[in-house]
């Protein structure tokens, strides 16, 4: 068992937790992220509601009885909205690594066989080989001209724990791909071994078999006819050698361990079991 007590990059609590689950040597650490967009959004609301409250108060002062009996009464609803927005802004700011020393300690520490997540009230330890299902939603959400990156990973572990990692959980741009790679590295040989022993491995809407790929809806594409897997607009489907879609489309974030599925299918298409 290897631990790194006293290391500059790994705090004692994380090193002890990693050692207790035999995670092996430390590789990299990622800090928790500042929720920049929510902060800016709440800041805009504070300014907006304060301005509207001011305008309502001035209008009510000029025309008594139009919006309420007094300028204060007219401005009250927007003052409440501004106060709620300001409270949210200050709360987020106080918990962000920009101003909070504790928040700067809330890191994800990656080790050879898993990772440790230091949270406010506890330290969580996870091993790559305990991941049963990993659903990944990675992309960009659009609202008009506004584009917002989305990194959302939902994980279920063999001991029944569920973890949801989102944009600000840590540096998901770096940790997300590393997580998927590490889990796939563990899962792929096990999926291949199970396929040889049992004949099928299920991945949500798709079932990989020694003879080809089946779908839950009864479709089947044998390896000799198999043309590939298409991942377009966050939808996954399989197609035959003529390029015709041979399955219903399934959302990529609803297929568990999608990377393992893609690599397994790719390997089997070249060398069927």
């Amino acid at each position: 068992m290897t631990t790194y007590l006293g290391s500059d990059s790994v705090p004692m609590e994380a090193a002890v937790a990693a050692g207790s689950r035999a995670l092996g040597p430390h590789q990299v650490s990622y800090p928790v992220q500042t929720a920049g967009r929510p902060l800016v959004g709440l800041g805009i609301f504070v300014v907006l509601w304060t301005a509207v409250a001011g305008l309502m108060a001035v209008s009510a002062g000029d025309s008594p009885g139009l919006y309420g009996s007094s300028p204060w009464e007219a401005a009250l609803p927007f003052t409440v909205l501004a106060a709620v927005s300001a409270a949210g802004f200050l709360l987020l700011l106080a918990r962000s690594p920009i101003v909070s020393a504790r928040a700067r300690q809330l890191q994800v520490h990656v080790f050879e066989h898993g990772w440790v997540r230091v949270r406010r009230r506890r330290v969580e330890v996870y091993r790559w080989d305990e991941v049963l299902t990993l659903y990944a939603a990675v992309g960009t959400s659009k609202a008009g001209h506004l584009r917002h990156p989305v990194h959302h990973y939902r994980i279920t572990f063999a001991d029944g724990r569920h973890v949801s990692l989102r944009n600000y959980s840590t540096d998901m741009v770096r940790f997300g791909p590393l997580l998927v790679d590490a889990v796939t590295r563990v899962q792929l040989p096990r999926a291949a071994a199970h396929l040889r022993a049992d004949g099928t491995v299920a991945f949500g809407a798709f079932i990989v078999t020694g003879g080809g790929v089946a779908t839950r809806k009864g479709g089947f594409l044998a390896w000799p006819e198999f043309g590939g897997v298409s991942v377009e607009s966050d939808q996954v489907s399989i197609f035959d050698r003529q390029g015709r879609r041979a399955s219903p489309q399934a959302a990529v974030d609803e297929i568990p361990n999608v990377r393992t599925f893609l690599l397994l299918v790719h390997a089997l298409a070249k060398n069927p079991a």
Partner: protein
């Protein structure tokens, strides 16, 4: 959890709409917050012009507003129920996926 949170937001909006509409029905026809009775008239000032509105006119106008609120609220509640049903269905599928993955993840 995200789906349930969305459903909760829709449910709160829907319940608020239906609740306000129900409260409005109980309160009856009003003129600037004061209850009106058949035969009463209500003075409204709009863009500097005074306008007398009858009880029947106010009843029709407020009835339409309440209908809109009730309908909108019911629509949000319907969407909320749909979101809950989708979340329950998704959760069931994810339990199935975990069970199936357990079978091949235990192979070494």
């Amino acid at each position: 959890m995200g789906r349930i949170a969305n459903a909760a937001v829709f449910a709160v909006i829907g319940l608020t709409g239906v609740g306000v509409a129900t409260w409005g029905s109980i309160a009856g026809v009003t003129c600037d917050g004061d209850p009106m009775r058949p035969g009463d008239r209500c003075l409204e000032i709009s863009e500097g012009e005074a306008l007398w509105r009858t009880y029947a006119e106010k009843q029709k106008e407020q009835g339409q507003q309440l209908l809109l609120l009730r309908g909108g609220g019911a629509l949000f509640l319907l969407v909320s129920a749909g979101a809950v049903a989708a979340a329950v269905g998704r959760s069931r599928l994810e339990r199935r996926d975990a069970l199936e993955a357990r079978a091949w993840m235990t192979v070494r």
